[in-house]
Amino acid sequence: MSLLEVEDLRISFPTRQGPVEVVRGVTFSLGRERLGIVGESGSGKSQTGRAILGLTPPPGKATAKRLEFDGIDLRDASAARWRSLRGIRLSMVMQDPKFSLNPVMTIGRQLIEAARRTSSRSESKDRAMAMLEAVQIRDPARVFKAYPHELSGGMGQRAMIAMMLITEPDLLIADEPTSALDVTVQIEVLRILDRLVNERGMGLIFISHDLRLVSSFCDRVLVMYAGQVVEEVKASELKQAQHPYTQGLYNCLPRIEGGQRPLPVLQREAGWAV
């Protein structure tokens, strides 16, 4: 059974020239798997992720024919219903730990605050420590007492992931979770996410601009362009992608092995955005 069903998702923002649709009819379903959403800046990938959590920033409006999480209709969910889902069954990891952790609270207190949603006070501390270990922080006791500015980017992002996963959500939306990290740290963070999908059967939506990374990490990839999904491919078959945009995006990356010089440049066609 699928965990999430999205049909004809549309997000529009009012402007002086009238409403502008930034996401135009996105449809997909997600099981307990790793789904990648790839696109360039402005393609609507992040807005798609936020809309699933009901976090479309006002004055934007998200509408859909169907937006169901585990059989629950999210379209007209009440505030109370959102409270019972967000941070408990649905979670989100953002790009930069510098902006998403509370700078004046220790990591431990933030983790306990998250854990208290589902467990008692006495249990929470143990769970927070266990979670820090689960995201492979070497010295959990130190990190527990640390403030966000005392941690490196990679540590901060692990602490973020720990906080988002402490309630054992069914679905995690990760919006560029590793883009602010160094490549070697990036791989370690992905390894943690990978294990959680395999061991806990979590569903993961991985939003990224990095086609190569997504194709090596996810099971399935949605390629977005100008607010629409132009192609859905199996990650392993990305090289055989049909849409010229996907091909262009893949071919314009420089390669260590060397390739074409000059690099092939993506020629955009007006027809893609219709």
């Binding site: 360039e40 800046s41 980017g153 160094d182 490549v183 070697t184 990036q186 791989i187 992905l190 390894r191 990978d194 601009h209 990095d210 086609l211 190569r212 990374l213 194709s215 090596s216 990490f217 262009g248 995006l249 314009c252 990356l253 420089p254 390669r255 260590i256 092995e257 060397g258 390739g259 010089r261 000059p262 690099l263 092939p264 440049v265 993506l266």
Partner: protein
């Protein structure tokens, strides 16, 4: 003879932050040299030390055989120009492109500014239409082209490129890299390019230096990098990580 020679460079900020610890390399005229490393490796600081934006604690930087004084002479900046990482931050938000481009010309006492500005915009593929626009009216890729035009307008011999494409989308990155590649071939420029992306450096540079924790880890030619002939474990880690994710069981 080496165009740029850096020998045993140390950069210390304040009293305790030792950002660069004894880095040496030489870049020949017309060569493209890359510096790769992760954040905090000191790669950008090396570049900034070359053009006098970071304090040199010990060691020397030579340009065309002559040791450089601090502060640098105007003539040095006429020959060595820099392109910064973030095109959103490196252009003055309230100066038109025309003003951005005419300032270096005025400083260095160039004549026929009119023609040079039009030519510089033409060279980076923007055209005259962009001349009286403000930076906020341009996309990230167009801004980076302006930054390149600003560097090229003085007809320098060396370009220092600090992550010139890491703020750009992949398709725009390809366009800017092609532009830089073409300009170098046309004018015989010398490049020093700093990037965290091994693939970008492998594409753009004939030789590269891998840095970690302020030290040079190893120097490689492009051919040896492509043949995966890295001798240092850190370089190998970096190579492996740039290939993308692989599950643990077959790693």
């Amino acid at each position: 003879m080496a165009m740029i020679e850096v020998s045993d460079l140390h950069v210390v900020f304040g009293t305790s932050v030792h950002a660069v610890r004894g880095v040496s390399f030489e870049v020949a005229e017309g060569e493209s040299y890359g510096i790769v490393g992760e954040s905090g490796s000191g790669k950008s600081t090396v570049l900034r030390a070359i053009c006098g934006l970071a304090p040199t604690s010990s060691g020397a930087v030579r340009y065309d055989g002559a040791a450089l004084k601090s502060p640098r002479q105007a003539d040095f900046y006429r020959r060595v120009q820099m392109v910064f990482q973030d095109p959103y931050a490196s252009l003055h938000p309230r100066h038109t492109i025309d003003r951005v481009l005419s300032e270096p010309l005025a400083i260095h006492g160039f004549t026929d500014r009119e023609r040079r500005i039009e030519q510089a915009l033409e060279d980076v593929g923007l055209g005259k239409g962009f001349r009286f626009r403000y930076p906020h009216q341009l996309s990230g890729g167009q801004r980076q082209r302006v930054a390149i035009a600003r560097a090229l307008i003085l007809e320098p011999r060396v370009l220092l490129l600090d992550e010139p494409t890491s703020a750009l989308d992949a398709s725009i990155q390809a366009e800017v890299l092609n532009l830089l590649d073409r300009i170098r071939t046309e004018r015989g420029l010398t490049y020093i390019l700093v990037s965290h992306d091994l693939a970008v450096v492998a594409h753009m540079c004939e030789r590269l230096l891998v840095m970690q924790h302020g030290k040079a880890v190893e120097e490689l030619t492009r051919a040896r990098l492509q043949a995966r002939e890295a001798t240092q474990p850190y370089t190998r880690d970096l190579l492996l990580a740039s290939e993308g994710y692989r599950p643990l069981q077959d790693a």
